[in-house]
């Protein structure tokens, strides 16, 4: 009896007990479908985060304050201290010190209510320098950005994000808010420009909802007298010089702050490191979910074994007869092994189909992207086949070992 015959006989047996075969496969179907979907979710989320971070602007170093170590050796957490100053930013801007930095933009950020006439809107008020526009690779939809001059004198000007503009100006002024006046903390600011949408996907980030003012203006708005900044964005001259710029900024700031590298009171991240951080969180979740799915696969495999054992017991006379007619133990073993494998593989194929359909349907229901992975799909199919084979071995060997007389005689 060759393999083709065996496969044909196996398909017949699976079909002969259709309902039972379907129920047996169900565990594997669910397991495979959930593996494919969880891996798809994980990859979808990773892609989304990467797109967002890419939209931050290329060749970008992001310097954040944090991790101070006080005299008693207690280290503060990320962002817990205001250790970066405007002076740090201008030092980085010096070509002689950091030759690989193209542009530098220091920012402060605070939430404040912005009013235009009767309309109030609370948004993030960002104080920065004129280079911000280039460093963050933003463009203007209307008007202009503020100048170095306006920065120097702390002019009463503001550039609005597109969402902020449309929230504030709803009446006849909606078409062109430039030239209108808004009030922040009781101070009247003239709108001189509106940003283009950043294009990053809408995940609640405030890239399109912010009011950008000269950093000097921001300081006086908040009544702050220090010159601390919350983030310094550094654009390297090119992607190739990014790591050189990283080294330069790091050693400059360490020198300026008079601390050793191990006690650095700031951190520098790149797009890659941000992507990595975000992905590591996602990966943990994906691994966890995949683990759960794998357990359900295992349970599905045990289900196959259980049914195959029942099948061996139920078909004991058939086995006896086939043996009497000349089936060798290995032929009988093979027959049951092939049957179990077919159950596994058929379950796997059904699971992949459900996973593929799910990856089309689910994103529109739960607003989460799902990226199908060819590798995960292939691995899922291979796993389902392996489950069938693995959990089919024991029932198959039981069938093969039955002696024909005992098998024939059983009632």
């Amino acid at each position: 009896m060759n393999w083709l015959e065996t496969v044909r006989a196996g398909a017949e047996a699976v079909r002969a007990h259709r309902m039972r075969s379907i129920l047996t496969m169900l565990g594997i179907v669910i397991g495979i479908a959930s593996v494919i979907l969880t891996v798809g979710f994980g990859q979808g989320a990773q892609k989304e985060v990467k797109d967002e971070i890419d939209a931050l602007g290329s060749n970008l170093l992001i310097v954040s304050p944090g991790s101070t170590t006080d005299s008693s050796g207690v280290r503060g957490g990320f962002g817990s201290a205001t250790t970066l100053t405007l002076d740090d930013a201008s030092a980085i801007g010096e070509d002689s010190v950091v030759p690989d930095a193209e542009k530098v933009a220091a920012t402060t950020s605070t939430n404040a209510a912005v009013a235009a006439g009767e309309t109030n809107w609370t948004t993030s008020v960002v104080g920065t320098t004129p280079s911000w526009l280039d460093v963050r690779t933003r463009t203007l939809e209307a008007g202009r950005f503020f100048t170095a001059e306006e920065l120097a004198k702390g002019a009463d000007v503001v550039v609005l994000g597109p969402d902020t503009a449309s929230e504030l100006f709803t009446g006849p002024t909606a078409a062109n808010p430039v030239g209108q006046t808004v009030s922040i903390g009781g101070r009247q600011l003239t709108v001189i420009g509106v940003l283009d949408s950043s294009g990053a996907s809408s995940t609640g980030t405030s890239e399109d909802d912010q009011a950008v003012v000269p950093i000097s203006t921001a300081k006086s708005l908040t009544g702050s007298t220090d010159n601390a900044v919350s983030t310094i964005y550094v654009e390297a001259t090119s992607a190739d010089t990014l790591s050189a710029a990283y080294q330069e900024v790091q050693s400059l700031l360490l020198t300026r702050h008079g601390v050793a590298a191990s006690d650095a009171d700031f951190s520098i991240s790149t797009q890659d490191s941000l992507v990595e951080t975000a992905n590591s969180t996602n990966e943990t979740l994906t691994v966890l979910l995949t683990g759960v799915a794998a357990i359900s696969l295992l349970v599905g495999g045990v289900g196959v074994m259980n049914i195959m054992l029942v099948s061996v017991t139920e078909r004991i006379r058939e086995i006896g007869l086939r043996k009497a007619l000349g089936a060798t133990p290995s032929v009988i073993g093979r027959q049951f092994l092939v049957e179990a494998s077919m159950l596994g593989l058929a379950g796997g194929i059904a699971g992949v189909l459900i996973g593929v359909v799910g990856s089309w349907v689910l994103p529109s229901i739960i607003d989460q992207p799902v990226t199908l992975s060819a590798f995960a799909t292939g691995a899922a199919l291979a796993t389902s086949l392996a489950l069938g084979v693995g959990f089919g071995v024991y029932p198959a060997s039981r069938a093969a070992r039955l002696t024909p007389i005992d098998a024939l005689r059983s009632e």
């Binding site: 043996k323 009497a324 007619l325 133990p329 032929v331 002696t403 024939l408």
Partner: protein, 236 residues
Amino acid sequence: MTSEPIIELTAIRKTYRSGTIEFEALRGIDTDIAEGEYVAVIGPSGSGKSTLMNILGCLDNPTEGHYLLAGEDVSQMTETQLAEVRNKRIGFVFQQFNLLASLSAWRNVELPLIYAGVPRADRRARAVRALERVGLGDRVDNRPGELSGGQQQRVAVARALVTEPAMILADEPTGNLDSRSTADVLGLLDELHASGRTIVLITHEHEVAERAQRNLVIADGEITSDVPTARAGVIV
């Protein structure tokens, strides 16, 4: 009895062990069966009749002694070797018919051919020919459930014939049949015998045994009588 013996049993013993208890089912069976002979093995239950049938059918090895089937010593073969011998040399007819309910008549008949490695194309032709031989040429596509008991046993006989075996071993073939079907199946065995088949029939019914040429009576694991019947020497 001029033909060569197809079955030679020499000092066949079979001992079953269950813990410390030993039970001798067969205590030295010596006999020959010639090609073309029609032999009935009779005995009450517990006589060792079934054990003898298992050994004759190569379903079990004897504990001692030698069994030559068509000149080949099968007494100490492995299960895999025995499977091949059963497939090529023996056609079984069981009391319970033992047809597979999910397969049509011809698919049941082709089973031994599958294990013999006969190509698919030839199998159907041979299975249909065997069914025609037992008078079921018009029932090849019926499933066992759609056939009467007598017809089912005919399908089983066709399955026993399809490999052209050296011996047809029928174990109480009429045990589950009414008198009409019994006559039917025994008639068929007569026909097969007439066409030169070697038939060994296991039974406990004397009327059935009378149809054979020779009766082997078994009691307590030994042959107590080996006599020709009224039909011995009848050339059909």
